[in-house]
């Protein structure tokens, strides 16, 4: 599947300033691995021991993957994977 991974500004120094990366991947984990392969240093900042760090949120087409299958969440062609820092506001 060809998908777009959106990179937050805090991580763009590691992607040469790119805000979006086009990759192939059948699951969120595979897509992120493909991004990590292209850009050194991203893996450690987003994941720890193979899972998402606790202050990182990942959304597929607007839905938090923690409410889906986590890194095993399946992707379809053209999906948008968004990485964002976890901030829960006050309401």
């Amino acid at each position: 599947m060809a998908v777009t991974v959106k990179i937050p500004s805090q991580l763009r120094p590691a992607t040469d300033g790119q805000g979006e990366v086009e990759v192939e991947g059948g699951t969120v984990g595979e897509a992120l691995d493909a991004v990590f392969d292209q850009h050194d240093g991203l893996r450690e900042r987003i994941t720890e021991d193979g899972t998402l760090r606790r202050f990182v949120n990942v959304y597929v087409s607007g839905e938090d993957i923690r409410f889906q299958e986590g890194l095993d969440t399946e992707l379809t062609d053209g999906d948008e994977v968004t990485i964002l820092p976890a901030v829960a506001g006050g309401r």
Binding site: Q10, R54, F55, Y59, D64, F67, L84, V87, A88, G90
Partner: protein, 410 residues
């Protein structure tokens, strides 16, 4: 006490004091750290006592080099000894910190006042937030008072009373077709695209500092001493942990003596990621989809949840959860025994206090402070149909007849 830097709560990486909120190395949240070298407790105390009648009397402990000008100063809300509530619960000494007595009727005025002052200092001309109520009211009001442009993002299906109490201040009120999490995500993205100060996103490290003033006021109002136990609501966990930070700072500086109080957190069953993590012994909070009448506490993925769990554990406290009927009963109990009408978040807190009392967790010799963070008029739906109204003709006979029929006497 001069603010020194922003420091990552996870990996301790340091950053300059600017509009940033997340560690570039590990995505951990950032927090303001201060230089307390050479601080003289007697001098600090004297400055507090000679200060203004609000949070800026504690300016030495907030992230500013100079006391900001604030036209809508919150704080110094009443700390009331609630003997009738204590008696009803079989407790010795209970105090209620009534933070509904702030300019827009919730504790949010403390954090927003700090964030808006910081936004001005950093040169922002526009402030913004994602909210479903209290924060929206507060940002709109403080922006208006300070002469800043503001954008308040809310779910478009928000109750009318909340829209009115925000829109009245002349803000740019934006209804987003989606739920709170959608609004929050949009704001996190907007934060990267627009030169705006989002009080609870890119100014979050400063904003959160405002909650420490609740601890300072409590200690000062108790005659420069600490309570034995506190009960406070948990949404993101920021208020809860910052009350702890405030007490710790004053203990470290020698402004008060003794031990950090026992920390009891309060959540609603319909949104209880922190209570669940506490009960299960987890170090992280599993996100939940909120479903509770306590909407002001309904954060399914709490940023400071892990730190809240840690604080409750290390002080011998707990994080409990209460059901919607218990929340309604909590609102009633507080109103009937103290004359304070609180919103659902206060109902959660009082219901948790009642639960702790019933469980025998609180000793009769303990001095307990309960934090009431918001006003009952904002969540009227929670008390709808909870009372009876006698309806009579304008005659004494009709009054007597009505009460006789109801089986009571005037």
């Amino acid at each position: 006490m001069a603010p020194k830097a922003l420091s990552c709560k996870e990996c301790k990486e340091r950053y300059p004091l600017e509009a940033r909120y997340v560690c570039e190395a590990c995505f951990g949240p950032l927090e303001v750290v201060y230089d307390a070298q050479g601080a003289d407790p007697a001098e600090l105390k004297r400055k507090i006592q000679a200060g203004s009648a609000g949070i800026w009397r504690y300016a030495d402990f907030l992230p500013f080099s100079e006391r900001p000008r604030d036209p809508l100063e919150p704080g110094l809300t009443p700390l009331i000894r609630a003997d009738r509530l204590a008696e009803r619960l079989g407790l010795g000494e209970v105090w209620v910190k009534n933070d509904a007595a702030n300019p827009t009727h919730s504790f949010k005025d403390r954090v927003v006042a700090v964030a808006v002052a910081k936004a001005k200092e950093l040169g922002f001309t526009t402030v913004a937030c994602a909210s479903t109520g209290n924060l929206a009211n507060s940002v709109a009001a403080h922006a208006a008072a300070s002469g800043l442009e503001s954008y308040v993002f809310v779910p478009s299906d928000l109750e009318e009373q909340k829209l009115l109490a925000t829109g009245v201040y002349g803000t740019n009120l934006v209804g987003v077709r989606g739920n709170y999490d959608d609004v929050n995500r949009l704001c996190t993205q907007l934060c990267e695209e627009r030169p705006w100060a989002f009080v609870n996103v890119n100014l979050r490290p400063y904003y959160a500092e405002g909650s420490k003033t609740l601890a300072y006021e409590t200690a000062e109002q108790l005659g420069w001493s600490l309570p034995d136990r506190i009960v406070a609501p948990i949404a993101s966990g920021s208020l809860f942990t910052k009350i702890g930070r405030g007490f710790t700072e004053w203990l470290d500086l020698g402004l008060v003596t003794g031990e950090l109080p026992t920390f009891n957190g309060a959540q609603a069953s319909g949104c209880s990621p922190v209570a669940t993590a506490f009960r299960e012994g987890w170090d992280v909070c599993k996100p939940q989809k909120p479903k509770t009448i306590a909407k002001s506490l309904a954060i399914g993925n709490p940023a400071d949840g892990p730190y809240a769990v840690q604080l409750a554990r290390s002080t011998g406290g707990a994080v409990d959860q209460v059901s919607d009927p218990e929340i309604r009963a909590g609102i009633r109990l507080l109103a009937e025994t103290t004359g304070i009408f609180t919103e659902t978040a206060g109902g959660v807190t009082v219901a948790t206090l009642a639960k702790l009392a019933e469980r025998g967790d609180i000793g009769r010799d303990e001095r307990v402070v309960t934090y009431i963070t918001g006003e009952g008029l904002k969540t009227l739906d929670a008390v709808r149909d909870s009372h009876h109204m006698y309806e009579i003709e304008p005659t004494i006979e009709s009054l007597d007849a009505e009460f006789a029929a109801a089986g009571s006497r005037l």
